[in-house]
Symmetry: C2
Subunit: 129 residues, 2 copies
DNA sequence: GTAATACTTCAAGTGTACTTGAGGTCAAGC
DNA sequence: GCTTGACCTCAAGTACACTTGAAGTATTAC
């Protein structure tokens, strides 16, 4: 007995709204789950999937891109190559995003250290040097 | 002679559209620049500001939050404290975003290494272990 | 049996962040 | 002087990612 989760429990555990879960299903990011009396029942694996979606979203992927990364391109010659091209491109973007975030973190930390009341003020100090 | 930039040059160098620059100005993220014959002229510093905005956007800040981080709260008692509270909170979020992006990167790299044609397929492999 | 609560579908509404289009202005080159 | 291209304003339109609301159904508790 795998103890299936209701949509409400999934939402609570994953930190999203039930409406978002239905929306992701509609958008092809989540599998259509089992139903009991018409109601969705999820296996715990869904939580990992939702975490993955959340991570990808943070990385700046659109839901359409996430769908493609999840499922790949429809079977056709070169589907694997196309998927890898997309994944590689996204990998570059993820790395850029990380670098950019590190800079933003630096700036925030600096501003907090020097007790500025705004980045504007702090940036002036930083950029004068 | 500081060689001011037109909005078109700024857009090209910063990798944004001119419409976005005007929009940011309207939204209070960019200072109102000098005008020559009614046309905006920017100092090179604007490029750093646009990079900062881009980074903050990637970090998941809304334009409203970026405005606050840039300018601080309007002068009032406790403005500095409120700004620091916001900045600290955002610092935590930036760190979380970085961690999440690292995981996404791991996943992408793993998927590329094992030559999967989709994350779905690869995730099955990963999660079976 | 009935009330409460969580679920269902479907269509329409919302917020954010821009973009686009209409109609006009400005500076440079021919 | 006229054309070209980049700029201007302002209002309206668009894309994405959900959310909300209406109207109804199912499960559990009493």
């Amino acid at each position: 007995m795998p103890a299936l989760l209701t949509i409400g429990e999934v939402a609570r555990r994953a930190g999203v709204r039930t409406s978002a879960i239905r929306y992701y299903e509609e958008a092809g990011l989540l599998p259509e789950p089992e139903r009991v009396g018409g109601k969705r029942r999820y296996e715990k694996e869904i939580l990992r999937r939702l975490a993955l979606i959340g991570g990808a979203k943070r990385a700046g992927f659109t839901l359409g891109e996430i769908r493609t990364l999840l499922h790949g391109f429809p079977a056709e010659t070169g589907a694997a190559k196309r998927w890898q091209a997309l994944a590689s491109k996204k990998l570059v973007e993820v790395n850029e995003a990380i670098a950019q975030l590190r800079e933003t973190r630096e700036l925030l930390e600096e501003a907090l250290r020097c007790e500025c009341v705004s980045l504007d003020e702090c940036a002036r100090l930083l950029y004068q040097a």
